[in-house]
Symmetry: C2
Subunit: 220 residues, 2 copies
DNA sequence: ACTTCAATCAATAGATTACTTGATTGTAAA
DNA sequence: TTTACAATCAAGTAATCTATTGATTGAAGT
């Protein structure tokens, strides 16, 4: 069991990597990227039992990827810092580069939805500055409230059909949601274009925006 | 067993993360960062049985992190691309930020060795341009041959005491080796300073240099 | 053909991980 | 105190992962 200094350090790194090595934990991290949440809410959104979610969250905590605080009866988890989002982005980059599998899945499910070029963060900033676009946040209201792009309008995807009137029909809509693999933004763009309205999606989501150090607004 | 598109993609990402989730595999990747190597050589350096090393390497290959080619009886592995080094760097960054454990280990083993400020890549380039320093590569000769910093002198750590005459006693030495956790560079700096010679170490190693897109020289 | 040797494959035992169930802890309110 | 509830803990089973052993494949050389 004796280990050199290097082996000991590499074992620590490996521990962090292993904490990322489960789809459920990655999904928990994706949700935590939106903002602080209680265990129960997380479990419900990811579709895990409470005990199971709690255990996954504790693993993430042991790896230093998330932190938590108690408020009354509730325990709220959050990402340990913005570096976590960077690590997740690096993981996604490398995975996409080499895994034909990812591409195959994307093509299969997201089909033509991807055919309209996504908008980069820089493009979005430019267009917002010149007042040409409406930025649309299609996440649920509570996630919007915890943090969103400045000037964004919040219409959760399920309400989009009923609230089309709230969107200026003459300006292009740029939709975003949780991240690069969140389907909400795809769906929103498809729905808007079906109405003959110009719409595109932001290339990734809120956590990446925040991690890039760009301004964030909150409500409530 | 049915999975949405997101779950399927996250499962792929998790697979890549799990491939990084073992100290032996991280060490294999560190060695592969120096350049292409045969299975036997890797197994010997990391201290694994041949079969075990082979299986770890295949796991890395399945995750798309390394590639291999056959040449006669030998099979040579290499990093799939420079992005792998970036991902490893991101993993190290995040791990260091949050794990007191890493710091504790570092302090315990590397002690005062760290007390002389390491040199950044930019600093090194500047000093080389003005001819003020000797760049010293203390890795084994074969690793040096596969790629090294331009203008670097190769004296493996074990031979340093006997070959001090080869180093200009008036110019500062900047030593480097495999990476941020390779002890060779620490040892070399300690040995040189014990002789009263000015010496510091590069903040990280050859793979990071190469991944940063800086020029690389080869011999043989 | 036969031998040699690098590397992989196959099978196994032991360790670790994931998820469930039911009990326990900690806080707030009745 | 008692009750209620969020979250954790504990225990057990099924599944997965690691490392060893010995057999097998593939490319050279005799």
């Amino acid at each position: 069991m004796s280990m050199g200094p290097k082996q000991a350090i590499l074992a620590e790194f490996a521990g962090v990597a292993r904490a990322l090595g489960h789809a459920h934990r990655l999904e928990l991290l994706e949700h935590l990227g939106q903002g602080e949440r209680g265990v129960d809410a997380l479990a419900a959104r990811v579709g895990l039992s409470l005990a199971n979610a709690s255990q996954h969250l504790q693993q993430l905590r042991r790896a230093g990827l998330v932190a938590n605080r108690r408020d009354g009866k509730f325990i709220y988890y959050r990402l340990a810092d913005d570096g976590v989002t960077d690590l997740l982005t690096a993981l996604r980059r490398q995975s996409e580069r080499n895994l034909a599998e990812v591409d195959r899945i994307r093509r299969g499910y997201f089909a033509d939805r991807d055919s309209f070029e996504p908008v980069s963060r820089e493009d979005l900033l430019e267009r917002v500055a010149s007042g040409l676009v409406t930025v649309l946040d299609v996440r649920p209201q509570d996630e919007f409230g915890q943090g969103h792009l400045p000037g964004a309008v919040n219409i959760p995807l399920g309400e989009l059909q009923d609230r089309l009137a709230e969107l200026d029909p003459d300006s292009e809509v740029i939709a975003y949601c949780r991240g690069a693999y969140c389907v909400f933004a795809f769906e929103a763009v498809a729905a808007l274009r079906a109405q003959g309205r110009p719409a595109r999606r932001l290339v990734d989501g809120f956590p990446e925006w925040k991690a890039a150090g760009l301004p964030v607004a909150t409500s409530f």
